[in-house]
């Protein structure tokens, strides 16, 4: 959650990055910890399997038609 917040803050306020960079220059131990955290953040793989929550727009009509067909079949 912390990393996610940092990522969102950086996206919203890019100037924060330079502030953090300046801070890290002065505190080597913090620098190591933050760098390690960023390495973990960067290595999180995105699952490739398609799920309903991330359905691409192009597939939505077919998805809808399939769900409708199954719903009708189950009512019979």
């Amino acid at each position: 959650m912390g990393l996610s917040l940092i990522r969102r803050l950086f996206a919203r306020y890019p100037g924060l990055r330079w502030g953090l960079a300046a801070l890290l220059q002065r505190v080597p131990s913090l620098d190591r910890r933050v760098r390690s955290a960023f390495a973990r953040m960067g290595s999180q793989p995105s699952p490739l399997r398609i799920d309903a929550a991330h359905l691409p727009e192009d597939a939505a009509p077919v998805h809808r038609a399939l769900a409708d067909a199954i719903a009708r079949a189950s009512r019979r």
Binding site: R12, S46, R49, I50, D51, V62
Partner: protein, 850 residues
């Protein structure tokens, strides 16, 4: 004939075994020989990505990319958990049939049917008659010992379904005559449906070089040795070899070692125990485990004898490899092995250790017999080539195709004939986005037993859409992640904004431009940003999730260095499906000049470069200098190429600038209007960070002021990194707001006015990917004093006055020039943004030709 090769045998874990090698080598030989036929490959997207990448890397040089199809099939269909995903499993088989039919092949050749117990390998359901099905048949050994090979109900059910699939195939390619006869008998097939194509040995297996001796010694082999290679499971009957070795005459046994190559710790322990029990000294038995091909060649080529006592084989590759390497080979006479070895004196009964012992004694003591085995083996192996196997397979397919054509059968699947009643009812098929044949499939899927989860439906929907024949314009998915989040007005964002605007207003011919942005590893459309940029011309719709298809291109226009690592799997997946990628590279300074950046920035940038090198089909650099730096970096850091083992091409394109320099003095803040009119002004434009050389500019101006030259220094740029000392120096400078001005909030209009009102631009940066301020200044005819960087010369030729490395001499040069002239120069001819967009378009189009 259009032939589709289902390449799953080269994608699953089988790719590390004989089936994978057989599939790959035969497919390659087949493609080479199948002149006059149209060969396509199909990969299963649900299988291991590394296997898919390796297959694409291997076959892409042999086939046009559009003939390698990446079928989008559901994940989670492996059968080792039969209670899970029943609907998904059946749906996957239907979807695979649908996807294959969409490619309109005459024949589909399944290279390995017995996959899918522990991996998501699929066979299509057999109800299609739109194409003929064929399959390679390696063996039916599990039917000979189902207790050993099919230990539970799930395995038995799975195997039975796959056998049913084989029965439905119109042609089986057996790898040996024994396998053919076994299939005809056990599957109750007509003889003409099974043809023997045989097997072959890979070209790496040939008599070894002199280096083989060192490899053998490294394995702990110190005297002549008897070799076995293969599995160590009971079917391979290795214990018979250990027993026979133990029974050799004592002097002969003591003169030799026994080397058993093969994986399996438990089996190795068992064999070691047996050897001890039989009195074989510990140093006489070696169990090296798995041995790579190169070392295997050395072992084959230097052994005194190779023995293969297996009870069941579909073919028998290890003895063939040993023969090809020049080893004398003794082989069990079971199943297919006599077909491989041929010579009767080289065969023995696998259940008769005494006979094996006698044969081994003869081979190890009679040099003439050993030499005869060697000569005969090499001769036989030379005739077993992949070309021969491919010729037989091709003949089988041609005969099958001819039979189908001759009968002119037009068979329709019953469900298709009857139409899709479930979804043809009013309302159900009203959505114009669902094609008629898709409606039929949806009806079939709706009638399946079992429960489909929402994710199952999503996977199937994506699979159906991905299998469509493409009729719409291809899309260029243009990354705008950074600028869509926040436009900071950086140089990179200026490029992104201007190129995208050009492309949206006048799209490249036959192309639909779709701005996209990364979102936690996924990719969304960025239509809200596009509307903000060009209004209603932008593509309609919300920022929904995007998918790319074959012949789409992902254009990494923005520099999304934070988002790319998470999105790398997604883009890699798109590339497997035939999407091309082109990344724009603005500079490599964080890695080539790390002293000007925080180490963390360098690490992030290097990570981005590695990801881009992995994913890119092409790089588009904003200058030739950047292209040269990138080429050097790739040479040093990514020599093996990217995802598909191929190095991306590196090209350069020019950046544009505003077509007409505007001059609105009222855009200047009042304080600057006055001072610009009062004395000559030197202008520095760029973020305050060490690389930009602001400190050198300030030093030079201080020297000018000390020598009595009355001039302004105006710095326009936000405060950046590693600039504490310089910022403090500027803030406390005695000339601040007198003759030295630093403004962080200069917008585009005021910057244009500054170019128009200043006397000269100071461009003292230590390194640049381009140099936009110089170009903008040149558009105004503003004289430029620049550090002598190759990229500045590349962009503006001799327009700038280049300063030597003698920093101490700069004040004199500046003073002389300020005194000599305050006029304008003739602006050089510079590319506009439309030129830039067109040049980048040409590079992006090139990805489709690679």
């Amino acid at each position: 004939m259009k032939l589709l090769i289902d390449l799953q045998g080269a994608q699953t874990q089988s790719r590390h075994r004989g089936i994978g090698r057989y599939t790959r080598e035969l497919a390659k030989a087949f493609i080479t020989q199948a002149d006059g036929h149209e060969v396509h490959l199909a990969l299963n997207s649900a299988l291991d990505e590394d296997g898919s990448d390796a297959a694409i890397a291997e076959f892409a040089p042999m086939l046009p990319r559009e003939r390698i199809h990446y079928l989008r099939l559901p994940y989670g269909t492996a059968e080792h958990r039969p209670d899970e995903g029943a609907w998904r499993r059946v749906a996957a088989a239907r979807l695979m049939r649908h996807a294959q039919e969409a490619l309109q092949p005459d024949v589909v050749w399944h290279t390995s049917v017995f996959e899918g117990m522990t991996e998501d390998a699929i066979v299509p359901d057999t109800s299609s008659s739109r194409y003929a099905s064929a399959a390679t048949l390696y063996d039916l050994i599990p039917l000979h010992d189902d207790v050993l090979h099919l230990p539970n109900a799930a395995a038995r059910d799975w195997y039975a379904r796959r056998l049913e699939f084989l029965r439905g195939c119109e042609l089986l390619l057996a790898i040996s005559e024994w396998t053919r006869r076994d299939a005809i008998e056990r599957l109750d097939l007509e003889g003409d449906r099974v043809v023997v194509v045989g097997g072959a040995v890979d070209s790496v297996f040939r008599p070894p070089s002199e280096a083989a001796g060192a490899i053998v010694l490294a394995k702990g082999i110190t005297r002549p040795f008897v070799l076995y290679n293969g599995g160590l499971d009971p079917r391979k009957n290795v214990t018979a070899l250990v027993q026979a070795f133990a029974r050799l005459p004592p002097a002969l046994r003591e003169a030799h070692q026994l080397v058993l190559v093969g994986k399996g710790e438990a089996e190795q322990r068992e064999l070691a125990r047996l050897a001890t029990k039989l009195g074989i000294p510990r140093d006489a038995l070696l169990l090296p485990g798995f041995v790579p091909d190169q070392e295997l060649v050395a072992l084959y080529g230097t052994c005194a004898l190779f023995v293969f006592p297996s009870r069941f084989e579909g073919f028998g590759l290890p003895p063939l490899e040993a023969m090809a390497c020049g080893a004398p080979v003794l082989c069990s006479h079971a199943t297919s092995l006599p077909e491989v070895v041929g010579r009767a004196e080289a065969l023995f009964d696998p259940d008769d250790a005494g006979q094996l012992c006698a044969r081994m004694t003869a081979a190890l003591t009679d040099p003439g017999f050993a030499q005869a085995l060697r000569d005969d083996g090499r001769r036989r192996a030379a005739g077993m080539t992949w070309e021969t196997v491919a010729t037989r397979a091709l003949a089988g397919f041609e005969a099958l195709h001819a039979r189908r054509n001759a009968t002119s059968r037009v068979l329709c699947v019953a469900g298709y004939d009857e139409g899709p009643p479930d979804v043809a009812t009013p309302g159900a098929d009203a959505d114009a986005h669902v094609a008629p044949d898709e409606s039929a499939l949806l009806a079939e899927l709706a009638a399946l037993d079992g429960t489909a989860t929402p994710d199952d439906l999503a996977q199937v929907a994506v699979g159906i859409v991905s299998s469509r024949t493409r009729s719409d314009a291809c899309r260029w998915l243009v990354d705008v992640t950074g600028i869509a989040g926040r436009d900071l007005g950086t140089g990179i964002q200026q490029v992104v904004r201007n190129v995208l605007r050009q492309w949206l207003l006048a799209p490249p011919a036959g192309v639909r431009i779709e701005p996209v942005r990364f979102d936690a590893g996924h990719v969304r459309h960025a239509r809200a940003y596009a509307r903000q940029l060009v209004g209603s011309i932008a593509p309609d719709g919300d920022d929904t999730f995007a998918m790319a298809r074959h012949d789409d291109v992902f254009v990494g226009l923005d520099w999304s260095f934070e988002a790319l690592p998470a999105a790398r799997p997604r883009l890699g997946d798109w590339r497997r499906g035939g999407t091309r990628t082109c990344f724009v590279v603005y500079d490599l300074l964080p890695v080539t000049s790390p002293q000007y950046f925080h180490p963390h920035t360098g690490e992030l940038y290097a990570r981005w470069l590695h990801d881009a090198a992995y994913l890119a089909d092409r790089f588009a650099c904003i200058s030739r200098a950047t292209a040269s730096a990138l080429t050097s970096w790739l040479d040093a850091n990514a020599p093996g190429g990217g995802q598909f083992g191929r190095r991306a091409a590196v090209q350069a394109f020019p950046l544009g600038s505003a077509a007409h320099a505007t001059d609105n003095p009222h855009a200047l803040r009042l304080s600057l209007r006055t001072v610009l009119a009062a004395r000559p002004t030197l202008l520095m434009v760029g973020t305050l960070e060490p690389r930009k050389g602001h400190a050198d500019g300030l030093d030079a101006c201080e020297a000018l002021w000390r020598s009595g030259v009355d001039a302004n220094l105006v710095i326009a740029g936000r405060r950046g990194w590693m600039s504490d000392a310089l910022a403090a120096r500027l803030k406390r400078h005695p000339e601040r707001d007198q003759r030295m001005f630093w403004h962080e909030d200069v917008d585009d209009a005021e910057l244009q006015a500054l170019y128009a009102g200043s006397t000269a631009l100071l461009a003292l940066s230590h390194g640049e990917g381009y140099g936009l301020p110089l170009v903008e200044a040149a558009r105004h005819g503003l004289p430029v004093f620049a550090r002598d960087l190759p990229v500045f010369r590349e962009i503006l030729g001799d327009y700038p006055r280049f300063l030597t490395d003698d920093v101490a001499g700069w004040p004199a040069v500046l003073a002389e020039c300020l005194a000599a002239s305050r006029g304008r120069c003739t602006p050089p001819l510079l590319p506009g943004w439309s030129d830039s967009a067109r040049a980048l378009e040409a590079i992006v189009r090139g990805t489709l030709l690679d």
